[in-house]
């Protein structure tokens, strides 16, 4: 559906995209995830035609659009700061693309009303963007982008300027909308929770390159390197290994592990620093024998059984043994 091949983009000495290739299947919702400066926004804007690539091709639905201006690419774009047309009403904002295409007025009105209903802004046709909340403005921007029936919908940190609660609501809503409308969607975000929550496919970018691309659970469970592992969630370091904090088992006695388990990987000794009880989850901050800090997440039940408090000495071992060469299967290949 969208194919980017060998994309390169430089800003002076800075390499924004370093030979990126990416394939986005039709009807999917793909998240481009990465820290700021990783090239995720540049990649999205290059798909839209708002940036010109220094090298590489962009193909949308089989058409090479590399040299096509944005207005002819058949895309819908949503900006982080809404880019609402401030001098137009909500109705005129949403109608903009259709007015440009000189569609009949009754068709435009029908379509605008329908879209505003879908995004939950029915009845606000005559308002101006300044009279809407941030979340409402972004939903208006989404309706505006959808009005022209784009082949692909591109969202550049669409919820980045909103507060946490509105953000979580809107991303749930976006996922439901996507399931209804089925338009191929690419979402740029630096928030791993957002990506894991809404996307079918996640591409993790770092320093202008794609580190890994795959389904959310694949990336979370089988990250190809430390960067992807750390970026997709919290990690704890056990010797040379990075593991998820909830994949650590704590015991007061070594005998709680079977001899086979101990033969496979010996639990290590650590001192409890602080025990934080966050509802069902309990976070235990530890200091290992090498003086390294790590955190384990255990269940409330385990916490009650172990009755840990600061200063206690415990043994810690990953739930699954991770010999170094098998730690990251993809790297071992």
């Amino acid at each position: 559906m969208i194919d980017v091949t060998d994309a390169r983009k430089y800003y002076g000495d800075f390499t924004a995209l370093d030979d990126v290739s990416l394939s986005i299947p039709a009807g999917s919702l793909t998240a481009l995830l990465g820290p700021s400066g990783s090239g995720k926004s540049t990649l999205l804007r290059s798909i839209a035609g708002l940036e010109t690539l220094d090298a590489g091709r962009v193909v949308i639905s089989g058409d090479d659009v590399t040299d096509v201006p944005p207005q002819k690419r058949g895309i819908g774009f949503v900006f982080q700061h809404y880019a609402a047309f401030k001098h137009m009403t909500v109705r005129d904002n949403v109608a903009f693309g259709l007015t440009i295409r000189k569609r009949p007025k009754n068709e435009i009105n029908r379509k605008v009303d329908e879209l505003l209903e879908i995004v939950g802004l029915g009845g606000l046709q005559k308002r101006y963007p300044a009279q809407l909340s941030g979340g409402q403005r972004q939903r208006m921007a989404l309706a505006r982008a959808l009005a022209v029936d784009p082949q692909v919908l591109l969202l550049d940190e669409p919820f980045g300027a909103l507060d946490a609660k509105v953000r979580a609501d809107l991303r749930q809503w976006l996922r439901r909308l996507h399931d209804e409308v089925h338009v191929t969607t690419v979402l740029v975000t630096h928030d791993q929770e957002e990506a894991l929550d809404v996307a079918d496919q996640i591409a993790v970018l770092n320093k202008g390159r794609i580190e890994q691309i795959g389904a959310p659970e694949d990336l979370y469970e089988r990250p190809v390197n430390d960067f992807v592992m750390s970026f997709l969630g919290s990690v704890a370091k056990i010797g040379p290994h990075l593991v998820r904090p909830h994949d650590l088992r704590l015991e007061r006695a070594l005998e709680r592990w079977s001899p086979e388990e101990r033969a496979e990987m010996e639990p290590s000794k650590a001192t409890v620093g602080r025990v934080v009880r966050l509802g069902f989850e309990v976070r235990v901050d530890l200091l290992d024998e090498a003086g390294e800090r790590l955190s384990a997440e255990i269940t409330r039940r385990d916490d009650e059984r172990l009755a840990l408090k600061a200063g206690d000495v415990v043994y810690v071992r990953p739930v699954r043994a991770l010999p170094p060469e098998e730690a990251f299967p993809a790297l071992a290949m």
């Binding site: 207005q71 895309i75 900006f79 880019a83 047309f85 440009i100 009005a147």
Partner: protein, 275 residues
């Protein structure tokens, strides 16, 4: 906005003194002179005023002033908007230089502008050849138009540029992704967004074009009824003709024109933003 949301407090003595000083300052410097001219003009009723501004010389001066405005405003609007866009969006060498050049008319005394124009367009100037072809620039209307355009050049740019900078290009990019070509984007998005800055720039341009004296007097032949603007007429009546009342009347007409411009622009803008 903030004053309505904040709790009203009783102003302290210091605040009251400062306010009084500010008001007296404005009154003495602005209200008194303008009021005095209005008083002198209408002290004997409206009759003498009408007589004084309907002499052939006055009518000609009125028309010439409007003509200069009609030449300078459209040119400065078109080139001012293009220059602002180039300054804000452009990435070309010499942008800093252009910034400085735009401010030149503010920095240079209008008299110098007049002298420069004579050097350039006068009989012995670089483009003096035009005069031998029968096109009279200096001491003719083209010269006065050039002088007016020169001194009013920065207003539109200086009002529009900060607005352009503030709105950024998100809206224009959004319009592009929705299918608008650059021309449609300019008319539907950019122009309405800079409307306020442009309006104010036009008002300032009109006011300055009407009031310009130094640059225009250098390149005008100064013949009453031929190449006298309203501003030059005020000067000529007062200094040359010792017709002080005529000078007051012409000055009042000049002020009236400026007020009318301001009023018209405000009304136009209100109408447009409500349509």
């Amino acid at each position: 906005m903030t004053s309505t949301t904040q709790k009203r407090q009783k102003p302290s003595a210091g605040t009251l003194i400062l306010r009084t000083i500010a008001l007296v300052y404005l009154f003495v410097l602005l209200a008194v002179p303008i009021g005095l001219i209005l008083y002198r003009t209408f002290a004997n009723g409206i009759g003498p005023f009408i007589d004084s501004i309907t002499t052939p010389a006055a009518i000609s001066a009125f028309n010439l002033s409007l003509l200069l405005v009609a030449i300078a405003v459209p040119l400065n609007v078109v080139f001012g908007v293009i220059t602002s866009l180039a300054l804000v969006r452009g990435r070309f060498p010499g942008r800093k230089l252009l910034q400085a050049v735009v401010d030149l008319p503010f920095a240079v005394s209008p008299i110098v502008v007049g002298v420069a124009l004579i050097l350039l367009w006068g009989r012995d100037g670089w483009f003096g050849g035009l005069e031998t072809l029968g096109i009279k620039v200096i001491y003719g209307i083209p010269g006065m138009a050039l002088a007016t355009i020169f001194v009013t050049l920065p207003f539109v740019v200086r009002e529009v540029e900060p607005v352009l900078r503030e709105i950024g290009n998100d809206q224009e990019q959004a319009a592009a992704t929705l299918g608008a070509n650059p021309w449609q984007t300019f008319w539907r998005i950019t122009l309405p967004s800079i409307r306020w800055g442009l309006t104010y720039g036009i008002v300032l341009t009109v006011a300055r074009a009407l009031g310009e004296f130094g640059a225009v007097i250098m390149v005008s032949s100064g013949f009453p009824g031929v190449s006298q603007t309203l501003t030059l007429l005020v000067h000529a009546r007062y200094i040359d003709d010792h017709n002080t009342y005529g000078a007051y009347a012409a000055a009042t007409l000049l002020m009236g024109l400026a007020m009318l411009t301001l009023l018209l622009m405000t009304l136009l803008d209100r109408k447009r933003s409500h349509s």
